[in-house]
Symmetry: C2
């Protein structure tokens, strides 16, 4: 008797950017699993159980949800943004791959959401308007050298770069190192957008030039977009400038 | 007298993945502008005008919408997926940047949507589960050499690659060239996901190995995800395999 496991993206954290699919999947679940602050975004429903766990316990959370689904329950794991972009989707797949064979009979579904970089980009214009990449700055699961190599490759090839997990208490130094590395390749005036808690009451957007970009505008709830050499600003009277990357390029980089 | 222009992402093209924000912004507009097939997704409303235009006329469409908004109207431009990812957002910024100064007093808003790569990824598992990039294969607005350079850089640095605009009648040859280039860097068995019209009635998902990936599974409505060397499959009884990229890597590439 196998149940169903859905891995659901809640988007930025407001109801107007939550898809009807995510909303109804979460409502229909017998049990919800997730990092506490994400679970807190979901309205309570009588009869629905909630299993909050800590930020770093993705694999354990995935395993517990799979055990419940394999026992016949309808289960949802909630993730901020999109679960497939540095969210819970890959952790669920890893747990499934190394778990018992019977888990593979669980119906597994992934429900996309508005990822942080899309929400941040929309607030300031179109910084992702051309080729871009998304990099997690966390070195919990990959060597820092790989992060540096990817930053270099992306900047040199002309990609706009969205940085996820830019900083945490345990990793205070990576972000300035990343800015320094990118600054060795990109123009000093390259626009950098800090989008903190976008779409929530404590939203804060900051725009800086790469040469002046520092740690202090970022925390764990921040997604950062570093422009390419093509990214530019449109100044507006009495308003924040618009940041965009034109759709085309005439230039060969490198 | 300045009006308002919203650039709205309709997501993959079904109502369950359309955000409430996108839905209400489109409903509230006096006039809608867009590529015909995207406008067709929006329910008709009495008193709301519609201006359909051809696929390739992004800049002209943006200018017409800005003229209407500058005259005081509440206007929405609709885009498939997310407008900031190879959609209409950058075209609107370009039009704004080169247009008359008074356009800068128009209230401009960007409404994010579920981009094609997120929808395709969710259908098959978590192929974007680690660092990834998005590249448009169109050489309408950039030299083909830049596309090749970015494909090489992304594959060598270990990024998963989402390919937008993979093929069209006017550009039949790029996709096989791209596969050949990536095949020179990545393992022959690297999973490639073709997601056509995901979330719509004519959805078709195909999974191939990179060495066997060909043009014939793709058209203009297709978004393709090419894995990294880490991307792998989970086979399931009687079902399509799950495709995922683990969250971590121990390996240094290149």
């Amino acid at each position: 008797m196998s149940g169903r496991l859905s891995v659901v993206g809640l988007g930025p954290g407001n109801s107007y950017q939550l898809t009807p699919e995510a909303d109804s999947t979460v409502s229909a679940a017998d049990a919800l699993f997730g990092y506490g602050p994400y679970l807190d975004r979901v309205p309570e429903r009588v009869g629905q159980r909630r299993h909050a766990s800590d930020n770093r316990q993705e694999l354990q959370r995935a395993e517990r949800a799979l055990i419940a689904a394999a026992a016949g329950e309808t289960v949802a794991i909630v993730s901020g943004g999109d679960p497939g972009v540095f969210g819970m989707a890959a952790a669920v797949c890893e747990a499934l791959a190394r778990g018992p064979k019977e888990w593979r009979s669980v119906q597994v579904a992934f429900v996309p959401g508005i990822s942080a970089m899309l929400a941040v980009a929309a607030r300031v214009g179109a910084p992702l308007g051309h080729d871009f990449c998304a990099i997690s700055l966390s070195d919990n699961l990959k060597p820092w050298e790989v992060v540096e190599q990817r930053l270099d490759a992306a900047a040199a090839a002309g990609f706009v770069i969205a940085l996820y997990n830019p900083i945490s208490r345990a990793r205070p130094w990576q972000l300035e190192r990343a800015f320094a590395r990118l600054g060795a390749i990109l123009p000093a005036a390259t626009p950098v957008v800090f989008g903190r808690a976008v779409g929530r009451p404590d939203e804060r957007i900051t725009i800086a030039e790469l040469s002046a970009a520092r740690n202090n505008s970022a925390d764990m709830a921040t997604c950062i977009i570093v422009g390419s050499a093509e990214t530019r600003l449109i100044e507006r009277p009495g308003e924040r400038p618009i940041v965009y990357t034109p759709r085309g390029t005439a230039r060969l980089t490198a």
